[in-house]
């Protein structure tokens, strides 16, 4: 109950910040996602009521754009670049390796909520290809061997904390 109230209060503040104009819907949802790391159902309902947009429309926009997630995401976001340059340099093998290592498919979050795996169409760091961006850190010239190392390191850091 408390959590829902929190969603609603923060969402109200975000909508107000954007002035409530209907054209600001995408910007509002972007801010909500930045605040909660995903789009909670309660927040989308609040947006619908406050902005006078049918819930179905809010849902349409939330599911149309790749940037939005309707499910809570993990502590670390692993973005595998699958742009053309990375593809011809073997990004799909790197993707397979991450799926195997984290036991999740793209778009999913692993059981302990540590990692979410995402694919991105190009991060424009083609000289580093195949490249993987974890949170804000770029990992270039990826190899399967590096996948193990990087994930183990993040897990180790997490355990120490």
């Amino acid at each position: 109950m408390k959590k829902t109230a929190n969603f609603t209060a923060k969402t109200k503040a975000i909508v107000k910040k954007h002035g409530g104009d209907r054209s600001a819907l995408i910007a509002v949802l972007q801010d909500i996602q930045e605040t909660f790391n995903y789009l909670p159902k309660e927040a989308m309902n609040t947006v619908s009521t406050m902005m006078g947009i049918p819930a179905s429309r809010v849902y349409e926009v939330a599911t149309f754009y790749n940037a939005f997630s309707l499910n809570p995401r993990g502590k670390h976001i692993v973005k595998i670049c699958v742009g053309t340059a990375c593809h011809v340099r073997g990004a799909s093998a790197i993707q397979d390796k991450f799926e195997q290592k984290l036991l999740i498919k793209p778009g999913e979050t692993n059981q302990d909520q540590q990692f979410t795996l995402e694919l991105v169409n190009c991060v424009g760091a083609c000289a580093l290809g195949p490249v993987v961006v974890i949170d804000t850190e770029y990992h270039g010239q990826m190899t399967m061997n590096k996948v193990d190392k990087i994930i183990n390191e993040i897990n180790k850091e997490g355990a120490q904390q």
Binding site: C122, A127, Y138
Partner: protein
């Protein structure tokens, strides 16, 4: 900065800034584009500053926009000598400061070394990657700090705007842009001046101008580098365009994945407003114009004009049929001019140097320069700006430095998912809008993805169709269903389940998808398939008839084995194999069990003796 209220005052501000700017003064510039940030250039910059302090030196370290030569980042240039250092690491910093900056002593090991002549090159402009470039739009990136409007003013920024407002009529601007032959850099190649004219004549108000920075083509990042590295050039172009068509509001639609571009554009807009170059009564005239930034939501289709308008209006980015053009009814059904970021950045150049000068660059139908991103299986990955009409061979071999690891060039893919693959026998093709279209590809936003003999062309076609199917908005049937069916056929071919007649069927569906789709996403979706069939039909046939993938990519059609001659029995491959498919004793040749092997490639990556064979 205080408000500048006349063209004369702007000249004065520029002059004053120049007085304080001494070209012989020591200065260190470091590329701080997203690519170099990936290499850790910000840490190098911080280290350079700390070291200067430590050695009591008062030399500015300036983080600039992208230099373009991403392959060799982080890149550092020491001025005024213009000594060009590449692949600079933190441990190199003390020497750079104490030797080069303090005494002008050159550190050989940090210079670019020509792989052919083995000789080192001192200056940026002499590096083969840069030598043939003509960096009119992109060149200032390396000199200015994009977060300071003063840097842009010193190099003559906003002079074109002042000229426009004080000397030119809106019609005069349009006729100059038309005369220059400026064509849209985002892909379509439509004449910008004609768009502007249409919008000026259209009824309805307010009118809008929009910069399309939703750079969606994978492997293309020149627009990002401009937005990050020289945001004022785009803004200046937009203000001039707005004056020409009579617009009072503008938008820059930036791709979701470009946070640094959003930051720099936001800073630039507020600095320009403060200086009286944007907002109400620009440079003291009656003309007012404001710019907003919209962040995209990560949908490729939003690069399409009507989908982009829908997105700015806060809706799902679905295109609409364009019986009425955007110049008449665009954003909120009002007259709108939408141009790509790079197109806008060309405008100040045309106004300040004139259409006649602009006409001397490029080919008959394509004037000016174009920025390309040269990526994939190429030695020198990076952004290049060349005059239109340069051949693919010059770009790939002279600037790009050819193919890595001594492999053979196979094709270059241009135009993103809407473009096509161009084979080796067309390498002497002069690159411009029309020539690329003639060979079944297109300019697109300027991505060039180079492929070698280890790239499978059927797999590449499948990759693009998969991309387009995911990104299709689903509104019209030919695109939604047609692209999906084509992808399924390509999936089958790559999985070894191709049937006789599949290639004909692909060609047949292509016609329907191209003719029947609502927007350019579907209209050009068959290009990657048709161009690979046209130039690499033998590869399709090898997959279908012989169940063989000549490039060794499609997993269902290849087998892994170990060359007993080369294998030393080091056991590394058997250790990395996650499914336990590799057996053998120490110091004896190993074998791979084909039934267990998943062809993941981990053994190839680990083998130091090149002993894993793929057939």
């Amino acid at each position: 900065m205080t408000k500048i209220t006349t063209a004369q005052a702007l000249r004065q501000v520029q002059e004053d800034l120049k007085k304080n700017f001494d070209p012989t003064k020591k200065l260190v510039t470091i590329c701080a584009g997203t690519g170099c940030r990936g290499y850790g250039c910000i840490k190098v910059k911080e280290e350079l500053e700390a070291e200067m302090k430590k050695q009591n030196m008062d030399v500015e370290v300036r983080a600039t926009g992208c230099f373009g030569f991403c392959e060799k980042g982080p890149l550092v240039i020491i001025h005024p000598e213009k000594i060009f250092y590449q692949q600079v690491k933190i441990k190199d910093v003390p020497d750079i400061v104490s030797k080069t900056v303090a005494n002008g002593e050159v550190l050989e090991k940090l210079l670019y070394r020509d792989p052919e002549t083995k000789e080192t090159v001192l200056k940026e402009e002499d590096v083969p990657f840069y030598k043939k470039q003509l960096r009119l739009v992109f060149g200032q990136n390396g000199m200015i700090d994009p977060t300071r409007i003063e840097d842009y003013l010193i190099i003559g920024g906003y002079t074109a705007l002042a000229k426009t407002l004080s000397e030119m009529s809106p019609e005069g601007v349009i006729s100059e842009v038309k005369k220059a032959g400026l064509r849209g850099r985002g892909g379509g190649g439509f004449a910008a001046g004609i768009k502007w004219e249409g919008s000026r004549r259209a009824h309805g108000s307010p009118k809008y101008v929009i910069a399309n920075g939703d750079e969606g083509d994978p492997g293309a990042y020149m627009d990002r580098s401009l937005m990050e590295g020289n945001p004022h050039s785009i803004i200046e172009g937009m203000i001039i365009g707005a004056y020409a068509i009579g617009a009072s509001e503008g938008y820059i639609y930036v791709r979701n994945e470009y946070p640094l571009a959003v930051l720099h554009l936001t800073m630039a807009i507020s600095a320009a407003k403060e200086a009286g170059l944007l907002g109400k009564n620009i440079l003291g005239t009656d003309f007012s114009f404001d710019i907003h930034i919209n962040k995209g939501g990560g949908a490729f289709v939003c690069g399409e004009s009507s989908a982009l308008f829908a997105s700015i209006e806060g809706r799902a980015g679905e295109p609409r049929a364009k019986y009425v053009h955007a110049v008449e009814k665009g954003l909120w059904d009002k007259p709108t001019v939408l141009n790509n970021v790079e197109t806008w950045a060309n405008v100040p150049l045309i106004i300040s140097r004139g259409a006649d000068w602009y006409n001397t660059i490029g080919t008959e139908g394509s004037k000016g320069t174009k920025i390309f991103s040269l990526v994939g299986k190429i030695n020198n990955t990076g952004l290049i700006e060349v005059p239109m009409g340069m051949t693919l061979r010059e770009i790939i071999h002279d600037m790009g430095g050819g193919i890595p690891n001594g492999r053979k060039f196979k094709a270059v893919q241009t135009g993103g998912p809407s473009g096509g693959c161009i084979p080796e026998n067309l390498l002497d093709l002069p690159v411009d809008f029309d020539k690329l279209y003639e060979v079944g590809s297109m300019m697109g936003s300027g991505g060039m993805i180079v492929m070698d003999d280890k790239s499978c062309m059927v797999d590449v076609a499948r990759y693009f169709l998969n991309f387009l199917q995911e990104e299709s908005c689903g509104k019209c049937v030919p695109c939604r269903e047609g692209v999906r069916r084509m992808r399924e056929i390509l999936d089958d071919i790559c999985a070894g389940k191709g049937r006789e007649g599949d290639v004909d069927l692909l060609e047949h569906i292509s016609t329907g998808v191209a003719d029947g789709s609502l927007c350019a996403l579907g209209g050009s979706a068959p290009n990657p398939v048709l161009s690979t069939i046209k130039y690499f039909r033998d590869e399709y046939e090898a997959h279908i008839k012989d169940h063989r993938c000549p490039a060794g990519v499609c997993k269902a059609l290849i087998t892994y084995s170990i060359d007993a001659e080369k294998c030393t029995g080091c056991m590394l491959c058997s250790r990395v194999c996650s499914v336990g498919a590799i057996h053998g004793e120490k110091k004896r040749a190993h074998v791979i069990d084909d039934d267990t092997c998943t062809r993941c490639g981990a053994c190839i990556e680990s083998c130091k003796f090149d002993a894993i064979l793929v057939k």
